[in-house]
Structures are given as structure tokens and as C-alpha cells.
């Protein structure tokens, strides 16, 4: 884990240096270098995350939480990672409006994903009210 993070940090710092140098010559290329570095860092980070995700799934199973709930949680996490990456890329490239719209799309997707949980909650509440 420590070697991974050292490698990632070195990679990130070199990418930043490269970006700064290229930005003076060609700003579009700097944006692309930025996106490529972000993608590679995120790929490694998600790979680092995979044991924790498995452990969370197992914990939820042992705690007797229905598997579909843990699954929804992890899917929401995945959606937020992908959305954050793409909206940050858009904002870095100066397209703030597009980035905000991407974030909105991510929120909408997560809301749609968690709809079943919400309807179950509403059902429980109505049952409690009705006695």
C-alpha cells in the first residue's frame, strides 16, 4: 500500500510539472495531459479500493443488512467517482457550466438508484402511522 501511494504521488507530481510546462506551449494539450494523468491515478486508486469494498459487502452481509442495500450504496459510490472525475475535467478545461451539468446528472442518477430504498422507507413510515 505504501509503495503504491508513493508511486501515485510521484506520478501526480511529475504530471503536474508536465502540465505546467506544456500549458505555456499548448493549453489544449495540457488539458489532455491532465485528463490522462487523472484517469491513470483514478484507475490505480479504484484498484486500491477493491479490498475495502469487498470487506464492506461482507460486513453488511454478516450484519444481516439486505444485499441489495449494500449494492445500492456501492453503486452510488461508483457513480459519484465517475461523475466527479468527468466534472472536474470539464471544470479544469474551463467549461464550468458543463461540469455543473455533469454533477447534476450524477445526482439525478443516484436519486433514481436510491428510489427503491426511499419507497421502502415511505412504506414503513405509513405503516407506523396507520398503526
Amino acid at each position: 500500500m505504501v509503495t503504491d501511494i508513493l508511486r501515485l504521488c510521484g506520478f501526480g507530481l511529475s504530471a503536474v510539472t508536465l502540465c505546467v510546462i506544456v500549458r505555456q506551449l499548448k493549453p489544449e494539450s495540457a488539458v489532455i495531459v491532465n485528463i490522462a494523468a487523472g484517469l491513470m491515478i483514478l484507475i490505480s486508486a479504484v484498484k486500491l479500493l477493491s479490498p475495502s469494498v469487498k470487506a464492506v459487502g461482507e460486513l453488511a452481509e454478516n450484519a444481516g443488512i439486505s444485499g441489495s442495500f449494500a449494492e445500492i450504496l456501492l453503486k452510488a459510490l461508483a457513480i459519484s467517482y465517475i461523475t466527479a472525475l468527468s466534472s472536474d475535467c470539464a471544470k479544469d478545461a474551463g467549461e464550468t457550466a458543463l461540469g455543473t451539468k455533469l454533477e447534476f446528472a450524477g445526482r439525478a442518477a443516484i436519486a433514481a438508484l436510491s428510489l427503491p430504498v426511499f419507497t421502502q422507507l415511505a412504506e414503513i413510515i405509513t405503516k407506523m402511522i396507520n398503526g
Binding site: L18, L25, K26, E28, I32, A36, I43, K75, L77, Y81
Partner: protein
């Protein structure tokens, strides 16, 4: 984690910038736009596999789909 890809992208950018200057000096202004578009497309083609790899990794780790 392939730092050489970043260097490759940066190199394409620098080469395009230099060619840009040469074309402008030699009064080929209409080809400058084509050169820029070509450079951008080449560089985009280089990062498409990584976008795919990221999506595949996220899909595998979080069990999407």
C-alpha cells in the same frame, strides 16, 4: 500508471505547437486549423483506452450492471 504516455501526449502537443509556428511563418494559415484538429484527435485517441479501462475497473470493483 504509464508516465511515458503522458510524455507522448506532451510531445505531440509540443510538436504541434512548433509546426504551428512554422506554418504561420510560411503563410499557411488555413492548414494551421487542420494541424490543430489532427493533433487533438491523435491525443484523444491515446487516452480513450484509459477511459475504457477506468470504466471497466469501476464496473468490476463496485459490481455495476
Amino acid at each position: 500508471m504509464e508516465i511515458d504516455l503522458l510524455f507522448k501526449i506532451a510531445a505531440v502537443g509540443v510538436i504541434v505547437a512548433i509546426l504551428n509556428l512554422i506554418l504561420k511563418k510560411t503563410d499557411h494559415d488555413e492548414q494551421v486549423v487542420m494541424l490543430n484538429v489532427a493533433g487533438l484527435i491523435i491525443v484523444l485517441m491515446m487516452i480513450i483506452p484509459f477511459i475504457q479501462e477506468l470504466f471497466e475497473t469501476v464496473k468490476d470493483v463496485f459490481g455495476l450492471w
